[in-house]
């Protein structure tokens, strides 16, 4: 399945505080130039490009929850020139970074000053492939096939936003389908159970061995996508000190011992 990583360099997001509104504190966030993405299509071809537009009206709710509602437009350069849209919507608990109360003013807002780990639903819109021979949408249609899976599946954006004194400025998001994450998560869970490993120890060598086993079990066609998920797990666990059991709900997974679902050919 198609997957990619969005890299948002420092100061490529612009945050304007609209202020206190009903239910919370509103921020206008604009996605600027210099935001790139790279990954692989479902066929394994290299995928890369940049964000050409994006806006979000983030609500920092009075109960300490951030609600995102971003509209982002992506311009791929590889494998073909193609424009597609993403809608990043969902909530993130601010309690882990020390916020559970309402933000009343800019002084409160500036206390938001830590990276915010997020797992947000994101869904995409992209053109039907090859349906129009001419007209203003012909180019979008002609180059759409490598991107078609974006419009057919539900995806998650996992990563972090960098927040500096109340300003959302940058970050990194890994975009993966829910299906890929579920498969990776389940297989990883089985391997962990089988080997009796505990990620609290954060033994990198052990994790690499797990990854290698996973790749062997799955074959190379899904290797990159799954390794991306595992790397993200490793990074987040290493940085946070949480256990696998604590981390598991981020993937919305019900851990069991049943075999993983068959892999699609995408």
């Amino acid at each position: 399945m198609i997957y990619f990583r969005i890299t948002i360099g420092a100061n490529h997001l612009t945050t304007v505080p609209i202020g206190v509104v009903t239910g919370g504190y509103r921020l206008q966030v604009t996605y600027g130039d210099g935001i790139t993405f790279d990954g692989f299509t479902s066929d394994g071809d290299k995928l890369s490009g940049k964000v050409i537009a994006g806006t979000d009206l983030v609500l920092l709710r009075d109960d300490g929850v951030a609600v995102f509602d971003a509209k982002i437009t992506f311009q791929a350069q590889e494998p073909k020139s193609h424009t597609f849209d993403g809608e990043l919507r969902g909530r993130v608990d601010l309690k882990p970074i020390g916020f559970s109360n309402r933000i009343r003013n800019k002084t409160d807002l500036e206390k938001l000053d830590k990276p915010l780990f997020v797992t947000l639903p994101i869904q995409f819109e992209t053109a039907y492939p090859n349906v129009l021979p001419g007209g203003p949408f012909a180019e979008a249609s002609q180059n759409a096939r490598p991107f078609a899976d974006l419009a057919r599946h539900q995806f998650l954006a996992i990563g972090q936003f960098d927040i500096d004194r109340g300003q959302i400025r940058g970050g990194e998001l890994t975009i993966m389908s829910v299906g890929d994450l579920a498969v990776a998560d389940r297989l990883l869970g089985q391997l962990l159970d089988k080997d009796g490993l505990d990620l609290v120890g954060k033994d990198v060598e052990q994790l690499i061995q797990i990854e290698e086993k996973l790749v062997r079990a799955l074959g190379n066609d899904r290797k990159d996508a799954l390794l991306a998920a595992l790397n993200k797990v490793r990074e987040l666990l290493a940085g946070s000190g949480v256990s696998w059991d604590e981390f598991r709900p981020m993937f919305g997974r019900i851990h069991d011992s049943s075999p993983p679902p068959p892999l699609s050919t995408h």
């Binding site: 202020g19 509104v21 537009a53 849209d85 992209t126 129009l132 001419g134 203003p136 949408f137 979008a140």
Partner: protein, 185 residues
Amino acid sequence: MAAPRGYFLDRALLYLFSYNTEIEHRTQKIGIVPEGARYNESARVGDSRVYNVFREKSQGGLGPGFKAVTGRLIAGFDRALYRSDDVIVGDVQATIETDDGELIGTRYRATAYLRPGGYAAYVAGIDRAGTENVPVQAPIVITPSFETQASAYQFLVTHRCVGFGRADVIKSEIRRLSYDIYAMT
């Protein structure tokens, strides 16, 4: 059960402000999706003004608390869908900075009906409605809601609003939008 009324309830439209939005010439064409043709438009924020048609500083005669809204757009983004039933639906997020330095966020849906067969002609590339000298003007209706912490503009938050607009269409692309915004009271 109450008897059916034989009269209308009181209603009024209170004029609040107007704005003109210049659209970036290069729309981002997402393509043909199940509901129709998707494209995005961004406002040229430096050229987009918020003003009062009567150049008033307050809404005289309608009571205190309705300060005139003047300023500029500092962000504006529309995810538009030209539906296959010939209706254009917009999904807009925008932010206004008033001349007195306050920020007002808005989001709204927009609805416009151009003409029968317009969608098919547009996506086929045979509809080139409007020229630079004689743009086609299409009516648009929007239902914005506003957010601000500025006490002077709380009337925007406490009223449901409607906007009546015109889109200037050149070669089947919207180049300029102009709206009058009213509170429904």
